[in-house]
Subunit: 231 residues, 2 copies
Amino acid sequence: MMELYDLAGAEEDRRFSPFCWRARLALAHKELPVRTLAWRFTEKERLAPSGQGRVPVLVDNGRWVADSWVIATYLEETYPDRPSLFGGGAGRALSRFYSNWADSALHPGLIRFVLLDVWRHLAPQDRDYFRRSREERFGATLEAVVADRDQRLDGFRQSLTPLRLTLQTQPFLGGERPLYADYIVFGGFQWARCISDYALLAADDPVAAWRRRMLELFGGLAGKAKGYPVA
Amino acid sequence: MMELYDLAGAEEDRRFSPFCWRARLALAHKELPVRTLAWRFTEKERLAPSGQGRVPVLVDNGRWVADSWVIATYLEETYPDRPSLFGGGAGRALSRFYSNWADSALHPGLIRFVLLDVWRHLAPQDRDYFRRSREERFGATLEAVVADRDQRLDGFRQSLTPLRLTLQTQPFLGGERPLYADYIVFGGFQWARCISDYALLAADDPVAAWRRRMLELFGGLAGKAKGYPVA
């Protein structure tokens, strides 16, 4: 069976990396069973065979594959007879923008709500590393980064307008059924849900309705994972 | 031959609507010849058969089709043997987000650079209507809306990050060749280029390189149109 190195918190079953969730949902979409291996930020050496130090890392029959986008395209090419993650070459090319939008617009918005909650859930050996590296990146303490999150909530919800308008006209970004683009964007919301009780979305937001649909996929794979309830 | 009602300025050949450009490029992609009809904002009654008052409006063999997205899907369904605008059903569903991102993120950014320049290029009979309706929408004079545009330039360029990252790894949003998603996003840049000499993009920006490729498509359809030169 394949193995996936998957970021975990202090509790081994708290899995919260948005990029690892992309990979887990891609594997489920492809109907490929996987054994996830709990991994902590400070265990870089365990990933050495992948040539880098971040998760997700997939190990498929001795082949190490790192990076969520590379994993998705690897799965698509290696298992072409399984349900497609992209719906063809055009869909694959068109999915890139979703990934870049999530990484450069969605996640930077999300992190300023949940950064301190991430730290609170980390394994003891990861806490100093995480606080030091993130406080250097943000130029502020973790506490200061999230201090004004209530004031930023309206702006964050406003930033989801392209997503909201799309999900008002179709149930998934991929259309009638989810595609990898859905897993890309959902990864961010699952990250937040697994690590924080902060109510990012109003219950009547079409984005929240889509999130509920995503949580139910594959027998509730994402919805049953350890985290906080959402609207 | 099909006809397309196309927004024009004081000069009949200055065609600057971002939504009309989506339709014109979609028609060219489909290899469908079209006769464009210059239309001004105050000529709502000419569009009456379409049941609404905005362009683009396509007239195909007596059938009136309004709204750029509806036109694109109409062309795709009516002329399935021509080159596909979406690359299949998944590509079509995935293109919706591009449209909503352009409308709710890209265009609101762009308009605050070019709004006064639009007014300057309008036909005399359109100027009062445009100034009144836009000043009401923005709650400010056209002059005030664009007054601080130099200060907003860095932020605008930053907002293009998802686009830039994507175009660093593939020549078009659709991959190796342009798809309707490219026309959606390019429409905004062509709108700006046709109406304003403001330098929105640095010459070495991958987005500018993509814009150059877009301007050259279909024998320079967009590049030869009346407007201002770009980097």
